[in-house]
Symmetry: C2
Subunit: 501 residues, 2 copies
């Protein structure tokens, strides 16, 4: 007779495989599906989601988890078995808190709100989207009550994306970031040498962009023999196993950054998945532990590595080879400066490494206000513009480049946004530790290589998958809890140099 | 309370959606998946197949079908409801005959054998594939016993792909084809004017091949707004709904035919799926009724339409536009002759319209011998080469261009091959009827158009999906049972003309 844990594993594998089939349906929808295929695909996704929810939340599943937990009592906390039990208990309990009708209402609302938002953004018509935002706020409030919380309502939602993270902790950290970034940005404004980024705004043939994206993803360690590069409108990474972790990007004919930094960013995500330990395969532990830690891996490759001087000293000649007319006359240093230009702007996904954080902090503060009933949907545009002015000194001329720009609020998904900025902070904190432990990482980077860095990330972060919470992982790897200081040290040094402050 | 039929439909939809998710997993495996992703994908496919089999063969499912059948007693035979009940009863009974462990073993074997076959074919190493072929033969034998049969073992397997077709019937028809083709082929050999096909063997830039493939697929009526063109090693078509029916092809840098006729062939398949009636959506009736009828649609587009003189009189100028250096100096007539060159060759998928049938008859005969225990896996290469010599007067110099060339025997799929040649016969029989009923079809074809033909196929074949068996459908549309005569009339006229016999 198999052990209780073995029986549980068999069930876990089945649920996992079904979940990955669902992930393939989503991936294919974005990458290959013709638009008219959407109605049938939505039915397929709905059916698989329902089956998955039934299997994951059945009484039988709960009993199997508890039976295995009893059998494993006293097992090593850091072992695969105990870690899986911890994860399953948490996710099972959370999934059981949402009644099926509520889950159905959520996906119904998301389905209805999305096309309205698309049109509202096109037409710059916030009023038409407002009733849906009101429902999103209400459902977020309802969801917070269903999940429950000890200190703040927002904790209940944040926990979905960043397990065990508290709002108060994020707020304190973000406040510290804000306090430190404001004078840095002012110094750049007032005393910085001008940075010219016109060289990334030229016609760049797409076939050559594709060639270079493959080259540079390979250079940082993305394993194409266990991966695939697809083309989409909104880039993302997805993995169906550690041996099939995919990236996507988009191609602009006259702007190099989206494809280039998109490829680096998504490769960072996919390399995390490629690095999970084989023993975790077919369990929910075989993926990045949280959205914030995931984002730290993508931001590490996109920014810390991919926007560094040394890296481009090494790789700029290859980029020139791909684009001799566009870049043949320019230096690696000029390119390095161009891709690091700091400039307040309206659109989050186009923001530079510094001002990006303000975009996130703004959303984090507005989400709390909406959730707590301090900000009504109708007052969002004004609140948004006020904060843009306060944080970045610019005011969007319309809501399409203001509070209508992101897809995230078309579904009850408050709590997601802060993980983007947490990723920047985690990335800097991990990087600082890695370089202290292996000073050769910086020397390698000057040669365009990431071998030691990647080996260190594999050892300390990737292989563990979801065994530890972000809090546990960061403490264990860096010896300290989350802090804004490494990011500020990194950013201050980098931009002081670039802008000659 | 919903009717019994409505309850059944709800269940049918769920099973259908899961089956389509499985189809996406297969499609993605061929088109996008990195090779190393295969192990995990095989597990995912195995899990979904098992769930699907459980749901399709549950006692509950059987009771629901019978309850709905009672409720619908007396419903119109040709109606959607009665047709669905007939189909479900048949497929339920068949599926119940295969134990779940057997189904799991089949998909496991297929997953393992495929990469071994790919490598064996590359390395021309039959010995490494032989153990897998032995397992395939054993599982086919086991499957025939599980399904059961009245006359011949092979009937049990053939029925899976060509419902209600008997081996004896296929044998008699194929023997008639063989008897009639041999003198035609001899006449071509002995008295035919030489046909030069060197113009299709030139360097053809792949990007231009892609452009033309899209052009010509669109020209025959494949709807790209409900489709997608992917690149693969072994082309196929797949549909996830009538609004997402995909084609794939491959690109040879110095041979035009594979991409061109591959695109036409797979478009023919996909157009069948795109043409199924919307009312059949999410039921097993929403697809082609049998592999043979399916193949009749692909062969119709590839050969009857796509290798006709009139069609190329209309479309050759566009082809010249894509390849001015290669084709600028040639005539449509020269191209028409080149793509209709009859020449015994080793590779089935590259064979001409006439000799193709010999490749199929060879496989049909060898499969029966292996299934009946008259031919062991280890003796396949010799038997293969002997038959090639007998039928076509040529002997492959190695197994990669002999018995290792096809993917089909990497899974327990005996019974599939004959449907390819049946497709040629059905295509000619349908074409003959269509042209009698609508003589303008030939005139349109001379202008490169297929409108009336496609409308006729939609009306008489496509919209019915799987409501009727191939036998019923052919009788109903052409007024006669399957016959080799229309094909022989078509082929004799065409090649007598081309070869000046």
């Amino acid at each position: 007779m198999p052990s209780k844990y073995q029986s549980l594993l068999t069930k876990v594998y089945e649920i996992h495989d079904l979940g990955k089939a669902l992930a393939v349906l989503y991936w294919d929808k974005q990458v290959n599906m013709p638009p008219k295929g959407n109605a049938a695909r939505t039915q397929q996704i709905t059916t698989l989601s329902r089956l998955l929810h039934q299997m994951s939340t059945s009484d039988e599943m709960g009993e199997m988890i508890e039976a295995a937990a009893v059998e494993l009592n006293g097992a090593d906390y850091a072992g695969d078995e105990a870690s899986l039990i911890r994860h399953l208990r948490r996710s099972y309990a959370n999934a059981r808190k949402l009644p099926p009708q509520f889950v159905a209402r959520m996906s119904q609302l998301a389905g209805e709100a999305h096309p309205v938002w698309v049109k509202a953004r096109e037409d710059n018509d916030f009023a038409s989207f407002q009733p849906y935002l009101e429902q999103v706020i209400e459902m977020c409030q309802e969801m917070a009550e269903l999940y429950g919380y000890e200190d703040e309502k927002y904790d209940a939602l944040l926990d979905k994306y960043e397990t065990d993270m508290k709002t108060a902790e994020v707020r304190a950290t973000f406040d510290a970031v804000k306090a430190a970034l404001v004078p840095l940005r002012q110094a750049i404004d007032e005393r910085g040498t001008a940075v010219d980024d016109s060289i990334v705004h030229q016609p760049f043939p797409i076939e050559k962009q594709k060639e270079f994206a493959r080259y540079i993803a390979d250079a940082i360690g993305y394993d194409f023999s266990r991966g695939h590069l697809g083309t989409v409108v909104h880039p993302f990474a997805a993995s169906f196993s550690r041996d099939d972790a995919r990236i996507t990007t988009r191609w602009y004919p006259d702007f190099l950054n989206p494809s280039l930094f998109g490829a680096l960013h998504e490769s960072g995500h996919a390399m995390y998945e490629q690095g999970t330990h084989p023993d975790l395969a077919r369990t929910p532990l075989a993926r990045g532990t949280s959205l914030g830690i995931h984002e730290s891996q993508s931001r590490m490759m996109e920014n810390v590595v991919g926007r560094s001087r040394g890296f481009w000293q090494a790789h700029f000649p290859k980029l020139q080879e791909c684009f001799p007319e566009q870049l043949g006359q320019h230096t690696a240093e000029a390119f390095f400066r161009a891709i690091n230009k700091v400039q307040p702007s309206f659109i989050r996904v186009e923001a530079d490494e510094l001002t990006y954080n303000f975009h996130i902090i703004l959303r984090f503060e507005l989400e709390q206000a909406m959730l707590n009933g301090d900000l009504a949907a109708k007052d969002l545009p004004t609140a948004w513009n006020d904060k843009m002015n306060e944080f970045l000194g610019v005011v969007p001329s319309n809501d399409s480049e203001g509070c209508l720009q992101d897809v995230h609020w078309t579904r009850p998904g408050f709590g997601y946004f802060p993980t983007y900025a947490l990723g920047n902070l985690y990335a800097a904190q991990l990087w600082e530790t890695a370089v202290v432990q292996h000073p050769e990482i910086e020397e390698e980077l000057n040669q365009g290589k990431t071998n030691t860095l990647l080996a260190w990330l594999r050892e300390n972060v990737h292989q563990h998958g979801r065994k530890f919470t972000p809090r546990e992982l960061i403490q264990q790897v860096t010896g300290k809890p989350l802090s804004h200081e490494p990011f500020m040290r990194y950013a201050t040094a980098k931009f002081t140099d670039i802008y000659g402050l």
